[in-house]
Amino acid sequence: MVSVKYRLDARRLLCPLPVIRVQDRMNSMVAGEMLEVICTDPGAASDIPAWCRINGHKILDMEEREGELVIVIEAGKSG
C-alpha cells in the first residue's frame, strides 16, 4: 500500500500539459514523496513514464479506472 502525499487532477488536459503539470508539482517534492495524477489523454500513459525515466522518478502504479488513467509516481533525487 503506497502513501500518496500529493494528488494532481490533469483531466481534460492534452499532452504535454499533463507532463508539465507533473513536472511543476514534482519540482517542489523531495525524494521518496509520492504523487498521484489523474489524466484523460491516453498519451499520458507514454509521456509521463518517459518524463519520469529522464528525470529519475519512479512509476509505482498505473491503471485505467473508468476511462481515466491514474498514475502514482515516487519522486527521485532530482525532484
Partner: protein
Amino acid sequence: MTIRRRALALISGGLDSLLAARVVMEQGIHVEGINFYTGFCVEGHTHAIRKKDRTRPRRNNALWVAEELGIRLHIVDVSEQYKNVVINPKHGYGANLNPCLDCKCFMVGKAVEWIEKQGFDFIITGEVIGQRPMSQRRDTMRIVVRESGVGERLLRPLCAKNLSPTLPEQKGWVDRDKLFGFSGRSRKPQMALARRFGLTDYAQPAGGCCFLTDEAYSRKLADLWQARGSREYELDDIMLLKVGRHLRPRPHFKLIIGREEGENNFLQGYRHQFIQLRINSHPGPLTLIDGEVTPDDCGLAARIAARFSAGRDAEEVEMLLLDRDGSEQLLRVAPLPVAEIRPEWYL
C-alpha cells in the same frame, strides 16, 4: 580543476536539435534540454482527440529525443506569453500565420532567462543556414542573436563553421574543428550524421511541429479573429481549431461538428461554454455553436448538423439543443439539402 561547462539545448523533437545536442555532448559538455509548449504544437493533440488515430504508435518526440540522448528535459508552458508573438509579430508572418522569426527570438530569449537563472553557460540550437526561409537565414539569425539578448552565448553546432566563433568556441569550451558547416535545405548531411551516431528512429525530418504553418489551421484562426473583431484567443479557442469540421453559415456564428467519436467526446467537454446539438434519432456528430444566436440561427445550425448525421436522407432528424445554462430543448428538423450547404461556409 577544470569546470565542466553546461549548455541548454532547444529540443523540438526533430532531427536537427537532436544532432546539435549530441555533437556538443560529444565534447564533454553537460547538456540539458528545454522544450516550449506554445499551444500550437502539433505533437500528440490530434492523436489524443481522434479515436481512429489512437491505434498508431505514439510518442512525444521531444521526450524521446531527451531519452535517446540521456539528458534531462524541461518542458515549459509559454502559451500565455506566446500570444503576443502570434498576435503582434514584429517581423510579420510566413506563408500562413506562422511568426517564425519572432517565435525563434522569443524562444531563445526564454532560454536566455533560463540559463541565467540556472547558471548554465550557453545555448544550443539545431539551426542550419538556409534550412528555413524565414528564421534560418544568415541575416535573420543575426536578428535572433540581437533581439533575444543571447549575444555570443548561442552555438549552432550544425552550421557553426559558416558563422563567426561564439563564446564557447572562443573560450575553448568546444572545439570549433569538431563542429559542422551545413547549409541549405538538403537533409542529406544531417541524415549522414544521424547514421554516424547510430540514430535511425528519429522523427521525420520534414515534419512541421507547429499548427501555425498549416494553411487550413491559419485560415480558421484568421476567421476567429475576424468574427470576434479582435486578434485575441484563449487556449480553448486554439485547441478547438484542431478539432472537427468548422462551418460559418452566418458572420455571427460558426459550427464545430465532430467528425468521429473521439472528437465528439472531446467537444462534449465544452458543454458549459457553447450551445450543443446532440442528435438522438440517428448516429451523428456532436455540434458546438460558437457565437450569439437567435432561434432561427439555431434552426439553421440544427439542419446543418442533421446533414452530417446518418439521418442525412431522412425526412426528419431529432436532436437535443443544450444551452450553456443546462436547459434543454427538443428539435425536429429536416436535414439541409447538400446543395444548400455553400462551399464558402467551410473554413
